[in-house]
Symmetry: C2
Subunit: 515 residues, 2 copies
């Protein structure tokens, strides 16, 4: 057994089932081990941003890490943006990054790079495995570090010789799962006091508590105490739709967020931090809650607040089972030229029960989110780190994790171009993903932001870096070229028909919604 086999066997024993990869020469011993050994399914991405974003989507839905296998510093670099998003999502991922053989490192060959330095920017745990004797233990430690809680990115750098040299035959047992510390009685009491105080109080929930159980407890607490209930603007995963207790994300722009939090004297934080603006602007505050609002931490950022919310509900004498839930409703459909409202109403009407929505629709997101509130129950995955190019890879990984659920990508055309190679992996693996390209042929959010800077009429040079309409992208061709069936809709009726057809078949489909 060589180091690569020890690595693969250890990961398999620790429960890792999937390895998203774009390998190179220095990873070939690991590829050979994947080939020889059962346990891990390798899935190829034609670009590393696909690989890392898929690992994020897999982790969000499977609740456990996939491995990635990446080629030295440049391969890790290509995957960095989606690792950034995964980091902010507290998604557990085990990155395996190949590197030059130990004895080769000092020669500064063309592919020599600072792998560890690059990894540190996005990883909670980084280690360079320095011998085949220890690579099994290193891999077990990496899985344990990734799982947390909270989940994080663990990067194990694997020099080629550590992979190819002989390793001992023993495979380490997985580390026992860590437990989140229970909620401290003092914190619970302080939050309960605030909620009963009669003062304006808010409850801000994020992280794993945004499943149905956590939401029921949060909604019951809000209903019984009169607290304003919010989740973060961008969340790892949110259960929603008919029969699920509703929660409102804080608005994206600082002004309406400040208004939503206006007057609060207490804010109970569950699995998140005090709310801050996404970007800073001249003469605007970064902190969104009022200056005199007291922050009460019930559960630390990234941790699962579900048990604590249930304890808090009990302390307030209310029952999660009695929390109000959203009533299902079928929206009235549009006719005529396609617009965003028509798109949103068709998605809401047709969304299959148990669907997973990967949302990277940027300026279209608010409308789509609002209109699907009463659709069939589903999970919503957000752009957690603001690094665009997340949506298509995330959908790819979510579909690998949940092969029995329909995955829907709501994608801006600008964002989709970053990691369009995802479509090829969806076709290769015949994943059940419907991609809706919201084609406004503009970096529309930047035009909005430019207006907020007072520059409402940019001249040609600014427009040339904000508009993507010349030449026009043809998303039907971009999808078909990668083996994904595709169509274009320019009317509400055509969009509805195409979406209906996509949702009643299995396998990858793309609809370019030109509006």
């Amino acid at each position: 057994m060589n180091g690569a086999e020890a690595l693969v066997r250890t990961l398999a024993r620790a429960g890792v089932e999937v390895c998203f990869t774009n390998p190179g020469t220095s990873e070939l011993h690991v590829v050979a081990a994947l080939d020889r050994l059962p346990g891990l399914r390798p899935i190829l991405g034609l670009f590393e941003g696909v690989v890392t974003g898929a690992a994020d989507g897999y982790a969000r839905m499977a609740g456990k890490p996939a491995a990635t296998l990446l080629h030295l510093g440049p391969g890790l670099g290509n995957g960095l943006a989606n690792l950034h998003n995964a980091k902010k999502a507290h998604a557990p991922i085990v990155n395996l990054v190949g590197d030059h053989a130990t004895h080769h490192a000092r020669f500064d060959a063309p592919l020599s790079s600072d792998v560890t330095g690059i990894a540190q920017a996005v990883s909670g745990w980084v280690r360079r495995s320095d011998s085949p004797e220890r690579i099994g233990a290193d891999a077990a430690d990496a899985v344990a570090a990734a799982v947390g809680p909270p989940g994080q990115i663990a990067t194990l750098v694997v020099p080629a010789d550590v992979a190819w040299r002989r390793a001992p035959d023993t495979i380490p047992a997985p580390a026992p799962a860590s437990q989140s510390a229970g909620v401290a009685p003092a914190a619970l009491a302080a939050c309960a006091d605030a909620l009963c105080s009669g003062e304006p109080t808010g409850l801000l929930v994020s992280g794993p508590a945004l499943g149905a159980r956590g939401l029921a407890a949060a909604r019951a607490i809000a209903a019984s105490s009169g607290a304003r209930l919010f989740c973060d603007t961008f969340n790892t995963r949110l259960a929603r739709g008919a029969g699920v207790p509703a929660i409102s994300p804080l608005p994206y722009f600082a002004e309406p967020a400040v208004a939503a939090l206006g007057g609060l004297r207490n804010l109970v934080l569950v699995g998140t931090q005090a709310p801050v603006a996404f970007f800073a602007y001249p003469e605007r505050p970064s902190e969104l809650a009022p200056d005199d609002c007291e922050m009460l931490v019930l559960v630390e950022r990234g941790h699962d607040g579900t048990p604590a919310l249930e304890e808090l509900a009990a302390a307030l004498g209310t029952e999660p089972s009695g929390a109000p839930t959203v009533e299902g409703a079928t929206p009235e459909l549009s006719t005529g030229p396609l617009d965003l409202g028509a798109i949103a109403r068709s998605v809401a009407a047709l969304l299959p029960e148990g669907a997973i929505v990967s949302d990277e629709s940027i300026t279209a997101s608010a409308t789509l989110f609002q209109q699907t509130q009463a659709a069939a129950p589903h999970d919503w995955l957000f752009l957690t780190g603001g690094a665009i190019g997340q949506g298509l890879p995330l959908a790819t990984g979510a579909a690998v994790a949940c092969s029995d659920r329909k995955v829907v990508s709501l994608e801006g055309d600008g964002s989709a171009m970053y990691t369009l190679q995802s479509l090829w992996t969806q076709a290769r693996e015949q994943l059940d993903v419907t991609t809706i390209i919201l084609a406004n042929r503009s970096y529309a959010i930047l035009n909005v932001e430019l207006g907020r800077l007072g520059m409402t009429n940019p001249a040609e040079k600014a427009r040339s870096v904000l508009d993507i309409d010349a030449p026009k992208l043809d998303w039907v061709q971009l999808a078909e070229a990668q083996g994904v069936e595709a169509s274009r809709a320019t009317s509400a009726e055509a969009f509805h028909d195409q979406l209906s057809s996509a949702f009643t078949q299995r396998g990858p489909r793309l609809i370019e919604a030109l509006y």
Copy 2:
């Protein structure tokens, strides 16, 4: 004037003419400044790997830096692989990376990231500008650092508030150009002695000395002394073709490289380091020259060895003007099904004088390089850092730098997928680039390397990460979808006709050569 305007004005005064960009909200003040001020031409890439690779191609051909404008850590991360290649090419680039406003950094908003940490992995110079009073000087320093010599990557992090706050009206003058130190007389004498010693001696040249002048001096030295003349396997830029003195790159694989250097007792190094294997392999040496071969450094790595080679030629009493050059020859064309030889012969026969070749053809490269030796004179740009996804962006930037020259991308299909968004920028800017996709539908180099590991018959799981034939990529659609005219050739005659047509028209074209 705000900080962004001071930044843009300083760059323009220092001679920077182009800004390749994919901006976001934190860069909009710089976008607004580019819009208002003359001097810098912004060019949009739909992915940051396009932006940084284009800056590299521009630098290699213009001999001076372009700026890039990137969006925080994730935007820089997306550009990292091609910055790695540019670093290895000693290409001068000035990266401007936006970041959160200074007062916003401590809140860990979703896009907060370790911009400086990521930048350090690929930059020779990194600075965070901390005030609008100093941003002009910071920009002038960045340009000076980028120019070198040797050229390097200079990254200036620009917090949003430093861009939007009021700046002084004075624009710093560009730093005076640094001069390479002249060659030390002792080094010159030692190299001359070795070349006259009668011992087997080699001359290994890389960097800017691979222009026509440096090559003439090197070839004259080799002819008069009997030295074996080589350049590195992967070079920033090499002048070649009819009428240019020939030079042989060291072979890629270690075994033939060791053979080429076999028996040498002295190796004169001009602008490069002692040759090392690209990757390490079990039981194979990393260093390629014989153990008892003495290394003589005439010119340090990355520096221009042209003057030193001319001095050395003079010391040996030989004349660069008398160096033998390659005689032009027109290859005999093939007929029938398309193969690599037919592709290479058509390229050689049709290549326009003064063409710029961006080579990322990987397993096809040796044949294409060899067959074009006697083509019309041209420049050849290599994959300097081994990070694939360089070729199409590099061609894009080279075409911006040299709008009067035909640019030819020789591209593997696997490599082309990394940064295929380059085609859109080529169409938008109507750049004169012909892309030839060498479509073997495989990561062929990895199959070769797997065979070298003794694994000649990989099973399904290994093949599933090395072959990219299911689904088949349609490069005609991928190009047309982005506004680039495209065609597919499966016979030698069709390829020749399509290439002839592409070379006689201007503007972007793509040919999928299926062989």
